[in-house]
């Protein structure tokens, strides 16, 4: 853990926070269609975890995927253009928020089906293992997904085949509106690792350094051929499940309690205290980030929409059959 690493992680966390805030603002103003799931509050998990990766490692993400995309190095312009449904978006306007991917840098995609990323992450890890590339796959999912059959099937298969995958559970204490104590009978999801014969740990998901250290250990272990691990990061999303959800199934006290532990405020305070950064430098980063995001939003707004007939492309790979009778 170097100073540079801490600074870099702060920058990325701020970027996610500002991007997500901007996204929510645009959405509530009616400029972005569909629905959105904000990552605000959980930045330390995506950033700390992705910091432990090499450029060509893979990640699979969730419906709450913008944070992972940004943490792994995804482009703001591609992301915003996609959210606006523009031709220049990452997915040419065909995927939207829950399906954004940048496969060129190993981001295999957000996913709209809870728990669907785990079997897919295993697949990517299997490729790395069969081709002996040394790549590792990080699989993000939430506490809700930990009850899906796919969670159990995937941890088991990854364990049996010793796949180079690290399962990262972002336990933000609520599966949509249902609190943990109502959807499972155990306190820590990491306990389930034992059932599949893999190491499991629970850490403070608001401490980016802790996330980085723990994930790094698991990533190196996976890379060296010793198989998967489960890391549960206890965290909290600042807002409701989706943008527009008032989230009043959570008490004001609980929300305020977690606010005090905000991951970005915490890191800023630590960096200032240890004199790694001063307030002026942090302000500079924030302005840089704002500028970057404003540029991306302008790019998105000025980009063209796809033409309607583009909807017919990319259903299949390199192969179209003749529409002779239609």
């Amino acid at each position: 853990m170097t100073e540079d690493k801490l600074k870099s992680m702060l920058y990325k966390m701020i970027k996610i926070r500002y991007a997500e805030s901007k996204v929510a603002e645009l959405f509530l103003a009616g400029e972005i269609p569909g629905f959105l799931h904000s990552y605000v509050g959980q930045e330390a998990v995506a950033v700390g975890a992705c910091e432990a990766l090499r450029g060509n490692d893979y990640i699979t993400s969730t419906h709450r995927g913008h944070g992972h995309l940004i943490a792994k190095g995804g482009r703001m312009d591609g992301m915003f253009a996609e959210l606006f449904g523009k031709k220049t978006g990452y997915c040419k306007g065909k995927g939207g928020s829950m399906h954004i991917a940048d496969v060129s840098i190993g981001i295999l995609g957000a996913n709209g089906i809870v728990g669907a990323g785990l079997p897919i992450a295993n697949g990517a890890a299997l490729t790395s293992k069969m081709k002996n590339t040394g790549q590792v796959t990080l699989c993000f999912f939430g506490d809700g997904a930990a009850n899906q059959g796919t969670f159990h099937e995937s941890l088991n298969l990854a364990s049996v085949w010793k796949l180079p995958v690290v399962f990262i559970c972002e336990n933000n204490l609520y599966a949509m509106s249902t609190p943990c104590c109502e959807h499972m009978n155990i306190s820590n999801i990491c306990e389930r690792a034992k059932a599949y014969g893999i190491p499991g740990s629970t850490i403070d998901g608001n401490n980016v350094a802790e996330v980085y250290e723990e994930v790094s250990k698991a990533v190196e272990r996976a890379r060296s051929g010793d198989g998967p691990a489960l890391i549960e990061c206890k965290c909290f999303r600042k807002f409701g499940h989706f943008v527009g959800d008032p989230g009043d199934y959570r008490s004001k006290e609980q929300v305020e309690e977690w606010e005090k532990r905000d991951c970005i405020i915490g890191l800023k305070e630590n960096l200032i205290k240890s004199k790694i950064f001063n307030e002026k430098e942090i302000l500079h980063i924030e302005n840089e980030v704002k500028r970057e995001i404003d540029e991306a939003v302008n790019f998105a707004k000025e980009s063209s929409y796809p033409s309607p007939a583009d909807a017919m492309e990319d259903v299949y790979s390199d192969w179209n059959w003749g529409e002779e009778y239609r």
């Binding site: 893979y58 699979t60 978006g89 990452y90 997915c91 040419k92 306007g93 065909k94 995927g95 399906h99 991917a101 940048d102 496969v103 060129s104 295999l108 995609g109 996913n111 709209g112 089906i113 669907a116 785990l118 079997p119 897919i120 992450a121 295993n122 697949g123 990517a124 890890a125 299997l126 490729t127 790395s128 069969m130 081709k131 059959g149 796919t150 099937e153 995937s154 088991n156 298969l157 049996v160 085949w161 492309e313 990319d314 259903v315 299949y316 790979s317 390199d318 192969w319 059959w321 002779e324 009778y325």
Partner: protein
């Protein structure tokens, strides 16, 4: 020409593709060492290719298909086996929402070169949860290629082509066809996806049949020949994309159509093909397109009940007679 079984033809296709492309691998339940799959299709493959490329899995259909999806997206060419097509329900999300859609949703960033081989079909009292024909469900999901071969020759040629195609292919076999025999040339050949086959030429009526119904239709046609009725049998082979041209040409020639499939009649592929004929050859029809499928019931267990529900050569013969 040498004669081999449907099972052997499929095995040969797998062996040839495994040998020629190191990215091809198989995964599925019990497909490996000494067991070689519930229908013995992969018997002997583990002995040649080992654990790495013949991957025996836990009973976890979602994990199996998902592993195929993730590895196909990242450079491998998996051939997954879904032990019975009836188990589709256990892993439908990974097929329907992931394999079929990831290329589209990512704006073309990924290819999905995977094959899911799965046997369906009734005929030996395997009962409702092990005897279905579910091709129509797959046909209804954009992004998939759906192939349903009826003969050893078609099975081998199409499976090889399916493995080489960069799209997700559902390759539907039939449990009662594994022991059937047919001519299969030595040496390399493939069959194009999306091309129907005229299994029998005729002029009085067009029968469009799939999978095991092709053999039953041929049996009925031989009997009808003796009565002076000339039956043309079209085997689509690939359901999506469908070779509409061959079908329409035949309809224009005969003016009468019977579509036969083993799956339940309601919303079966006959409904789709019938409508395509309606739209493209209405003026050539002497009578409405007719169809024959299984009765709209789950497949029953007792042979006498199963035989009542599932179409066979006799029922096809009678239906054709009633149309002429």
């Amino acid at each position: 020409m040498r004669v081999i079984t449907y099972r052997e033809a499929i095995k040969e296709a797998l062996i040839e593709e495994l040998r020629s492309d190191p990215d091809v691998y198989l995964l599925g339940e019990d497909i490996g060492k000494k067991f070689g799959g519930t229908n013995k299709v992969t018997l002997g493959l583990w002995e040649e290719f080992g654990d790495e490329r013949i991957r025996c899995t836990p009973i976890s259909e979602s994990a199996i298909i998902g592993a195929a999806v993730g590895s196909a997206m990242t450079g491998m060419r998996p051939v997954a086996e879904l032990m019975f097509i009836d188990f589709l329900g256990v892993c439908l999300d990974q097929i329907m929402n992931q394999a079929a859609k990831l290329r589209y949703m990512t704006g073309g960033q990924v290819s999905m070169p995977l094959v899911i081989r799965t046997p369906g079909g009734a005929g030996r009292s395997s009962a409702a949860q092990h005897a279905q024909s579910l091709e129509a469900i797959f046909c209804h999901i954009p992004g998939l290629i759906v192939i349903q071969p009826a003969t050893p020759y078609d099975a081998k040629g199409l499976l090889k082509e399916a493995v080489r195609n960069n799209n997700p292919v559902i390759f539907i076999e039939h449990k009662m066809l594994y022991n059937t025999k047919g001519e299969v040339p030595e040496g390399e050949y493939t069959i194009p996806i999306g091309k129907a086959d005229i299994k029998r030429e005729g002029k009085d009526i067009t029968v469009i049949a799939t999978s095991r119904m092709v053999n039953f239709s041929l049996e009925a046609a031989r009997q009808l020949e003796n009565e002076g009725i000339s039956v043309e049998i079209i085997d689509p082979r690939t359901l999506v994309p469908l070779d509409e041209k061959t079908i329409i040409e035949s309809v224009k020639k005969t003016g009468k159509v019977l579509i036969v499939h083993e799956s339940v009649e309601r919303c079966g592929i006959a409904a789709e093909i019938g409508q395509i004929i309606n739209e493209n050859a209405f003026d050539y029809l002497d009578m409405p397109v007719r169809r024959l499928g299984a009765k709209n019931t789950p497949v029953p267990f007792a042979p006498i009940l199963e035989n009542f529900v599932i179409p066979d050569a006799k029922k096809i013969y009678e239906r054709i007679k009633s149309m002429l």
